[in-house]
C-alpha cells in the first residue's frame, strides 16, 4: 500500500495518472517508506483535504494551508489528499489569517475538481493524529480500509457531478407594497383606521402589517415552490441551506439551495435560472462548481 508514489508526491512531483493516485501500489512496502514520508519534525499529523478517486492525474505541486506541500496517500482505489502538520488544529484570533487558511483549503479542492478528479471533500481543520502506536498514515489508511465501501458509495453518488449554489432574493417591501395596493382586506383596514381613535388606529395598523406579512410569506412560498420545481429536474439532489443576510440592502434571501448537478446539466440549469431572473421578480446568485460538501 505505501510505496514510492507517496514519497514522490510529497516532493511535489506526480507520476503517471494511475501511479500518482496510487493505482500502481506495489506490495512489499516497508515501514521505512512511512517514516520517510512523515520525517518532518513536529509534523506527526496529517491534514486531510479530500479523498479522491484514482484514475486521473493529481495536479502537480499543489500547496495547501500555510503553504504546505500537498501529497496523496493511496489506499486501494482512492487516495487521501493531505499535508503533514503538527498535532494541533489551525487556530488564530486573526480573522484574516483564518480566512487565508480556509481559502487555501478550498483552492486545493478547486485544483482537484478542476482536474476532473472525483472528490469527497473534508472540512477545514480535519487532522488525523497518531493513535495506539500507529503513525497518522497508518491510522488514515486503516480508517479508509475500514470505511472503504462507504466511500466507494459516496464516490458513486458524486461521480460526474458537481455542487452548485443557488441563492435567490426578493424585496419583501416591494412584494408587500404590491399586496397592499391590490388587497381588499388591506383597503378595508385602511378605511377602518381613518375613522378610529389613535389607540384603535394603532392596533389596526398592527393588524394591517400582520396581514401584509402573511400574504408576503405566502407569495414567497409560491416563488420558492416554482423555482425549485423548475430546477430540480436538472439536479440529481438538492439540499436546502439556512437563509442568510443578502448583501444588497432591502433584499431578503428566500432560497439557499445546494444542487448536485450532472456535468451535462450545468448549462441547462444556468439557462433556466437566467430565464427565471429575467422575469424580474427575483435576483439569483448562481455559484460553483464547488466540492460536493453537501452531498457526501
Amino acid at each position: 500500500m505505501l510505496n514510492r508514489t507517496a514519497m514522490v508526491e510529497q516532493r511535489g512531483h506526480t507520476d503517471t495518472p494511475g501511479e500518482a493516485a496510487g493505482m500502481n501500489d506495489a506490495p512489499g512496502s516497508t515501514s521505512a517508506d512511512i517514516r520517510d514520508v512523515q520525517a518532518a519534525p513536529g509534523k506527526d499529523g496529517l491534514y486531510l483535504y479530500a479523498l479522491v478517486e484514482n484514475g486521473r492525474e493529481i495536479p502537480r505541486g499543489i500547496t495547501g494551508v500555510d503553504g504546505e506541500q500537498v501529497f496523496g496517500i493511496p489506499c486501494r482505489t482512492m487516495s487521501a489528499i493531505v499535508h503533514a502538520c503538527p498535532l494541533t488544529p489551525y487556530a488564530s484570533e486573526d480573522k484574516e489569517v483564518v480566512t487565508g487558511w480556509v481559502v487555501s483549503h478550498e483552492q486545493v479542492l478547486e485544483h482537484l475538481i478542476g482536474a476532473g478528479i472525483n472528490t469527497i471533500p473534508f472540512t477545514f481543520d480535519t487532522i488525523i493524529k497518531p493513535e495506539n502506536g500507529l503513525d497518522a498514515r497508518r491510522v488514515l489508511t486503516g480508517w479508509l480500509s475500514k470505511e472503504y465501501e462507504t466511500f466507494v458509495q459516496k464516490f458513486g453518488k458524486v461521480r460526474g457531478k458537481k455542487e452548485y449554489g443557488v441563492q435567490v432574493s426578493v424585496s419583501r417591501r416591494k412584494i408587500g407594497d404590491a399586496i397592499a395596493a391590490t388587497s381588499d382586506q388591506i383597503q378595508q383596514l385602511d378605511e377602518e383606521a381613518k375613522v378610529s381613535g389613535p389607540g384603535k388606529m394603532y392596533l389596526i395598523r398592527q393588524k394591517r402589517e400582520k396581514a401584509i406579512n402573511a400574504a408576503t410569506d405566502a407569495e414567497i412560498a409560491g416563488i420558492i415552490t416554482e423555482i425549485t420545481g423548475k430546477i430540480q429536474g436538472y439536479c440529481s439532489d438538492l439540499h436546502m441551506g439556512k437563509l442568510k443576510k443578502w448583501q444588497v440592502p432591502e433584499r431578503d434571501m428566500i432560497l439557499n439551495c445546494s444542487c448536485l448537478v450532472p456535468d451535462e446539466n450545468y448549462p441547462k440549469l444556468g439557462a433556466v435560472l437566467e430565464e427565471i431572473e429575467q422575469e424580474g421578480n427575483v435576483s439569483i446568485r448562481f455559484t460553483g462548481p464547488w466540492a460536493a460538501y453537501s452531498f457526501v
Binding site: 487532522i127 493513535e131 491510522v139 470505511e147 389607540g199 394603532y202 392596533l203 393588524k207 400582520k210
Partner: protein, 120 residues
C-alpha cells in the same frame, strides 16, 4: 452559540439586551391584543385603551433606544437571537450532524477532530 456583547461598553450591551427582550415582550403583547380585538368581545373603549397602552409602550421603547444610542445594538442582539432560534429549529427539523453526513461516526474517538476540538 453565545450572544456577543461589546465588552468595552458593558452598559450598552446589557441595556441593549434588556431592550431587545422588552421588544420581544411587546410583540407578544401585540399578538394578544389583536386576538382580543378580533374576538369581538371588547368594547370600542377597551380597544382604544389597549391600543393607546401599546402605542405608549412602543414610543417609550423607541425613545430609550434613541436617547441611549441603542438602536444598532438592539438590532444586532435581536439578529443574534433570531440566529439562535433558527439553529434550534434547524436542529429540530434536521437532526443529523456532520459525522453522519461524512460517514465518520465509526472512527475511533480522537482520530479526527475539527478546529473546535470535536470529533468530526
Amino acid at each position: 452559540m453565545t450572544i456577543e456583547i461589546d465588552e468595552s461598553n458593558l452598559k450598552e450591551g446589557v441595556l441593549g439586551l434588556v431592550i431587545a427582550v422588552v421588544e420581544i415582550l411587546e410583540e407578544a403583547l401585540k399578538i394578544q391584543a389583536l386576538k382580543r380585538m378580533e374576538s369581538g368581545l371588547l368594547a370600542d373603549e377597551e380597544i382604544e385603551r389597549l391600543g393607546r397602552s401599546l402605542m405608549d409602550l412602543h414610543e417609550a421603547i423607541e425613545q430609550i433606544k434613541t436617547d441611549q444610542g441603542l438602536t444598532k445594538t438592539v438590532d444586532e442582539i435581536r439578529a443574534e437571537l433570531d440566529d439562535i432560534v433558527d439553529d434550534v429549529v434547524e436542529k429540530m427539523v434536521n437532526p443529523v450532524d456532520s459525522r453522519d453526513l461524512l460517514g465518520q461516526d465509526t472512527v475511533s474517538p480522537g482520530t479526527l477532530w475539527n478546529r473546535e476540538g470535536e470529533l468530526c
